[in-house]
């Protein structure tokens, strides 16, 4: 009898601190989200798989060919991101190169159980943008007191990469007006009062559209 309870593999609950689960986007869903993500019914598609493999090749063997593939795909997108944020083409080119140099040097910090390659590059580019466009400082949260994560967990990495892909699909499927606003927010085209200030009627349309978009994404991530 006892053994029977052990036949189903015990799903490892993510520690509450792990910024992995995209389902954490919804507070209410977090708890069930933490354990329900390991079913392998979705297979990681080739593209996400490729980027993770390239990152790991850069990280572990300093593989320049893998780096070149990442560069070819991501550098032009980082450049676009920076130009949308107000950099001219020269500055954006320079800054996109720097982002990729940082990716090389900080590859040992990449953890596929915590972020997709696109997300990780987004956070690097965001910091380069602060320096390049002389934006105001952005204080970072304190690192977790219990230090580095234990050995990366394959199932967590798989689940997170699948969820990232799923999120990309959900973003693409949003009604255009909502999707455009989400993109504008991340490209720095919206002010904080347009996104976040809890005030002001004229901003209502933008805010309610963003809220609708987030509700849809959340629904898609369930």
């Amino acid at each position: 009898m006892l053994t029977e309870t052990h036949t189903a593999p015990r799903l490892r609950a993510a520690p509450p601190s792990q910024p992995a689960g995209l389902r954490a986007m919804s507070r209410a869903d977090k708890r069930k989200g933490a354990t329900g993500s390991v079913d392998a019914k979705h297979r990681m598609t080739r593209e996400t798989d490729t980027w993770v493999a390239c990152m790991i090749a850069v990280r572990d063997t300093r593989d320049e060919a893998a780096f070149a593939r990442l560069f070819e795909h991501f550098a032009p997108r980082v450049k676009a991101f920076l130009m949308r944020s107000g950099a001219d083409a020269t500055l954006a080119e320079e800054c996109a190169q720097e982002t990729m140099v940082t990716l090389w040097h900080k590859a040992h910090l990449f953890d596929p159980a915590r972020a997709s390659v696109a997300t990780w590059i987004f956070t690097i580019a965001r910091n380069r943008r602060i320096d390049a466009l002389r934006r105001q400082k952005r204080p970072e949260p304190e690192d977790l007191p219990w230090g580095p994560e234990p050995e990366p967990n394959q199932a967590d990495a798989l689940a997170l990469q699948q969820e990232s892909e799923h999120l990309g699909e959900a973003l693409a499927a949003l009604p255009e007006k909502q999707r455009v606003l989400i993109e504008k927010a991340y490209f720095g085209d919206l002010t904080h009062s347009e996104i976040a200030a809890e005030t002001g009627l004229p901003l209502g349309t933008i805010k309610s559209r963003i809220r609708l978009a987030l509700d849809r994404l959340r629904h898609a991530m369930k």
């Binding site: 509450p16 910024p19 995209l22 954490a24 986007m25 507070r27 320049e64 780096f67 070149a68 070819e72 991501f74 032009p76 997108r77 450049k79 676009a80 991101f81 130009m83 080119e93 996109a96 190169q97 990729m100 140099v101 090389w104 040097h105 972020a115 997709s116 997300t119 987004f122 956070t123 580019a125 934006r135 105001q136 400082k137 952005r138 204080p139 949260p141 304190e142 690192d143 977790l144 007191p145 969820e163 990232s164 999120l167 990309g168 973003l171 993109e183 991340y186 490209f187 720095g188 919206l190 904080h192 009062s193 996104i195 976040a196 809890e198 005030t199 805010k207 963003i210 809220r211 994404l217």
Partner: protein, 219 residues
């Protein structure tokens, strides 16, 4: 790290704006400090950063310069490897989380308080002018005078607790108040209350006429 169950969290819009780096420095500081105390919002921030990744992934590519890849590889080979900044030695846990310690230049004992009346003290932190951040020290049982808001005000409890018309806020709890809200926070009787408050309200004018005009012009 928290002993207190945090029950007042960041809003989605604040988390998204922080992930997108759209907040004034004083708000970023407050968000980063809350996240340092709150595992739940840390996880939610991860989700909003993933959304940033999805936006980047989907964005239309802009052609790189012709020699871009080789130039980048040359920089990688030529440059000294970027070493991670050595992690600052982890001090015994104080009251202030790391982002705030950076602004204060130490823990609570390094704060330069200025009295503002009724036993309440404040210390304004150096941030960009778009919004302001201050530490507030409210003696147990004392009230911060009734104040309305222009714009948004974030109040994060670091120690003790306060109560206002809406609820009770303990360590790690954050109140997000809008301009319609008038409130009179009262520090809990048990302990002196220390908060981080950030607001994007416009700076007040000293002169009489601008002050009179302010409510009408809504500047």
């Amino acid at each position: 790290m928290t002993m207190h169950q945090i029950s007042h969290h960041l809003t989605d819009s604040l988390l998204m704006a922080y992930a997108a780096d759209a907040l004034p420095e004083a708000f970023s500081l407050t968000v980063a400090t809350h996240i340092s105390m709150c595992d739940e919002c840390r996880a939610r921030l991860g989700a909003f950063e993933s959304l940033g990744g999805a936006v980047l992934e989907r964005s239309e590519a802009v052609a790189m310069a012709e020699d871009s890849l080789s130039a980048t590889l040359a920089r990688i080979r030529g440059g000294a490897p970027v070493r991670d900044r050595p992690a600052p030695p982890r001090k015994a846990r104080g009251v202030l989380p790391a982002p705030l310690r950076d602004y204060v230049g130490g823990d609570l004992d390094a704060v330069r308080w200025r009295p503002i009346g009724m036993g309440v003290k404040q210390a304004i932190l150096p941030t960009s002018r778009e919004a302001s951040a201050r530490l507030l020290y409210i003696p147990a049982g004392a009230a911060v005078p009734d104040h309305g808001h222009r714009g948004t005000e974030l109040t994060l409890v670091l120690q003790g607790a306060f109560v206002d018309e809406t609820d009770r806020f303990g360590p790690g709890d954050i109140e997000v108040a809008d301009e319609d809200m008038h409130h009179m926070p009262v520090a809990d009787i048990g302990d002196d209350c220390i908060c981080l408050a950030a607001t994007d309200a416009p700076l007040r004018f000293r002169g009489m006429i601008p002050r009179l005009a302010q409510p009408f012009l809504r500047i």
